[in-house]
């Protein structure tokens, strides 16, 4: 294989974050030598994909190693559909599948593709055509799982990661559907060079999507609850190192202090520095939401707790040394944390951020009202919630308070189609709900009137009993 030089960036490298794909099933993994990963109930070894081009389809051989596949037919295997065919000639004799296990093995040996085998199974099933469309879809999916043995390696993108999370782990992203995420990025006018605030407890998917759209230009400040920011979703994007330079983090438990101008992030005064360190340490011990990427602080605490009844023997000295080193390490970490806090605080203090995006399982109204204070006037904000009721509350409070225009609660309705000759129709299954968005634009607060003036910024919606113009 002679490869031209410009292919370099499209080649899979060790350590790359990649996405495995089969049909509409995706899984994000990082390539590590000798590491087996499980995909669709099969163990596979990714070593062989290194050096191949992205978007290559591989065949899974026994033992889970991968070999590039020549023919590409599996790509369209989701198109097996027979809806709308005439089934009146089928006699229901109780034997649902006419093909035997041997027949199928023979077909495999003859080199039939998995798509062709499934087609055969359907044609030879007397009950298939009597199933509901949903049951038919399920049947096809089940059979595909059983007979397909290929996997395609993709370079991660927002489209793929968002569809992956929605398909595999919607609970982790508060059921944020990919089209809703698309609306958020657009409504918030996310683009290179701006300064964006994000509150994301949707696994960091929203954070990753925003960072992709900013292309490493500008700054993103992740406002986080609890002990640390959630970023697993963002990691899946496999951003180059310099993207991480634009990412900042700020714990929301300091928001009131920062707004009051009382947050001291300098370490010049040793007492103050210690205080900050203490605050940071407390945070680390209190990580109910965040991923516990480092278990060190807890472990250390345990050692300290059991240290009382130990004598002054060499082992103990050794232990003390280790403890000292660890304390030093910890101190450095906290210092690093302090520096980060100071940097994020500096970005926030100007209250001139260009956008705010909230996507979480928190009740959003106090979050929104608090974080909006950091935005410049004439900047967009978007709040995602799985529950419309919470956004109604946000809407009502913003209307009372003023300082925003273009407030709108929306959701999107998404339907996929099967487009095949003489068999075109919407897919028989669709996603129920993709969640709700509240979007709006900040404007300068009107100082001439009190914040809770009855004269709102926009004419308030009329109270209605029955209103003909709307249903």
């Amino acid at each position: 294989m002679a490869h031209s030089e410009d292919d370099h960036e499209y080649r899979i490298k060790e350590g790359d974050h990649i996405v495995l794909k089969r049909g509409d099933v995706y899984k994000a993994v990082q390539i590590q030598r000798k590491k087996k990963v499980i995909f669709e109930k099969q163990w596979i070894l990714l070593d062989n994909v290194v050096g191949h081009l992205y978007s290559t389809t591989f065949e899974i051989s026994s033992g889970g190693s991968l070999q590039p596949k020549e023919d590409k037919e599996t790509q369209s295997s989701t198109d097996v559909k027979v809806t709308g065919t005439d089934n009146r000639h089928i006699v229901d004799d109780g034997k649902s599948q006419k093909l035997t296990r041997d027949d199928i093995e023979t077909m495999k040996e003859q080199g039939l593709t998995d798509k062709e085998i499934i087609k055969q199974l359907i044609d030879n099933s007397s009950t298939f055509s009597n199933k509901t469309g949903y049951a038919q879809d399920k049947y096809i999916k089940k059979k595909k799982k059983k007979y397909e043995n290929t996997v395609t390696v993709l370079k991660p993108t927002c489209r793929i990661i968002a569809m992956m999370y929605h398909g595999r782990e919607p609970g982790k992203i508060c059921h944020l559907r990919y089209d809703t995420l698309a609306q958020m990025l657009t409504l918030a006018n996310i683009h290179a060079g701006s300064k964006v605030l994000v509150f994301d407890t949707c696994a960091g998917l929203v954070l990753g999507a925003i960072m992709e759209r900013m292309g490493g230009y500008g700054s993103v400040i992740q406002m986080y609850p609890g002990g640390g920011p959630v970023r697993a979703g963002m990691e899946c994007f496999g951003f180059p190192a310099h993207f991480h330079d634009m990412l900042h983090e700020f714990p929301i438990c300091h928001v009131n202090a920062l707004l009051a101008g009382k947050l001291d992030t300098s370490a010049k005064d040793p007492t103050e520095g210690e205080k900050q360190v203490k605050v940071a340490a407390e945070e680390e011990q209190n990580q109910p939401e965040a991923e516990q990427q480092e278990g060190i602080p807890q472990e250390e605490n345990m050692e300290i707790n059991t240290g009382d009844d130990v004598g002054q023997d060499p082992e103990k000295l050794e232990k003390e040394k280790r403890q000292e080193a660890k304390a030093q390490e910890r101190k450095e970490k906290l210092e690093e944390k302090r520096r980060k806090l100071a940097a994020a605080a500096a970005l926030l203090e100007g209250r001139n951020a260009d956008g705010l995006v909230i996507a979480s399982q928190f009740h959003p109204s106090s979050l929104l009202l608090g974080l909006l204070k950091f935005l410049a006037p004439s900047r967009p904000f978007v709040v995602y919630s799985q529950y419309k009721e919470t956004l109604i509350e946000c809407y009502t409070k913003l209307k009372e308070q003023g300082g925003t225009v273009n407030l709108m609660i929306t959701d999107t309705w998404l339907r996929h189609y099967q487009v095949l000759p003489d068999r075109t129709h919407p897919l028989l299954l669709m996603s129920g709900g993709g969640g709700y968005l509240l979007s709006g634009t900040t404007v300068a607060f009107d100082r001439s009137k009190p914040a809770a003036s009855p004269l709102a910024e926009e004419p308030a919606p009329k109270r209605q009993k029955v209103k003909d113009s709307e249903s």
Binding site: T83, G84, T85, D86, N87, R88, H89, V91, D92, S129, N130, K131, T132, G133, Y134, P170, H175, P225, I252, C253, H254, V255, N256, A257, L259, A260, G261, K262, Q361, F362, H363, S365, S366, L367, L368, L369, G370, K373, Y387, K388, E389, T390, E393, K397, Q401, R415, H416, P421, D422, R423, T424, H425, P426, L427, L428, L429, M430, G432, G433, A451
Partner: protein, 304 residues
């Protein structure tokens, strides 16, 4: 019991619908001495069903309980044995209204399929209407005849085992309404017209694919049908849920309390200052729901 008339008490020979809880229902033929097994244990027809009131709670042999419901076409639709793909209640409701069915209507239907729509039609046209239903498949036609008898609606329906596209509905000039759920409805439009009353009537064709709709609309136009309208109806089920949502902690407010009242006020209606979470009542949609059943094309046959 009959599918077109309510009774108070369960009788021998009835078809009752056993409600096993949470949208799970199954039909039972009530017979002296018979037993029906459920996940909660056996139901003994003689002691547990016969003579009991419809709607009663029945304790099964394992101690679990079920409710026994009077059959309705809608309960039948969600519990009938599938011999084909069937029409569900949202489409059936639309078909019934848009075909202008009512007591006394004469209706032609093809194919009969598993009889889901047929039962709903019979419920609406009873006691003075009639259904002519045509099913190509012999086994299915025989099976549905049997069911109509068991459901005590056989006096309202004629089942014909023939090919509607070749042989039509077997009646001429009698139908107020025609319903088509066949692979090539355009081939049956002429027969539909012939089956309908001279002064006019309504037609509906159900097809999953848009190409079927296009050909059917062309055939309807050619045959002089009017008010040709295609539509689609989808049901959304809203599940009621209690949800607990965390409240954010912005930390102690070092400024005077009136400096940033909004931050606190934010949760005022839903939470006292010290609460860390709120509960709301909301509804959620299913993660996956029916995205398409079929297109419904309606048309009016004018006076001919």
């Amino acid at each position: 019991m009959s599918f077109v008339e309510y009774s108070d008490l369960i009788k021998d020979g009835d078809v009752a619908i056993v409600h096993l809880g949470h949208n799970s229902v199954t039909p039972v033929k009530v017979q002296h001495g018979a037993q029906t097994q459920t996940r909660y244990g056996a139901i003994r027809h003689s002691s547990d069903l016969i003579g009991q009131r419809y709607g009663s709670k029945v304790t099964c042999s394992k101690g679990g309980w079920v409710h026994v419901l009077h059959p309705t076409p809608e309960l039948w639709t969600v519990s009938l044995p599938h011999r084909t793909q069937i029409l569900y209640t949202p489409d059936i409701a639309m078909v019934t209204m848009m075909l202008e069915l009512k007591p006394g209507s004469v209706v032609c239907e093809s194919g009969t399929g598993s009889g889901s729509l047929s039962h709903a039609i019979l419920r609406t046209i009873a006691p003075t209407g009639h259904l002519h239903t045509v099913e190509f498949h012999q086994q299915r036609a025989e099976k549905v005849v049997e069911e109509f008898k068991e459901h005590r609606v056989d006096h309202l329906v004629t089942v014909r085992n023939q090919d509607v596209c070749k042989d039509g509905f077997g009646v001429t000039g009698v139908a107020d309404a025609v319903f088509l759920d066949i692979p090539s409805p355009w081939e049956a439009v002429g027969h539909a017209k012939a089956a309908m009353k001279k002064h006019g009537g309504r037609l509906c064709s159900f097809s999953p694919c848009i190409e079927q709709v296009q050909r059917t609309c062309e055939a309807l136009t050619e045959q002089g049908f009017e008010e040709i309208r295609t539509l689609e109806v989808l049901l959304r089920v809203h599940n009621v849920r209690d949800v607990t949502l965390q409240l954010p902690d912005f930390g102690p407010d070092p400024s005077s309390s009136q400096a940033s009242p909004e931050a606190m006020e934010g949760a005022s209606t839903t939470a006292s200052p010290n609460q860390t979470s709120v509960r709301i009542k909301t509804t959620t949609l299913l993660r996956e729901m029916p995205g398409h059943t079929g297109y419904l094309t309606f048309a009016t046959k004018p006076r001919t």
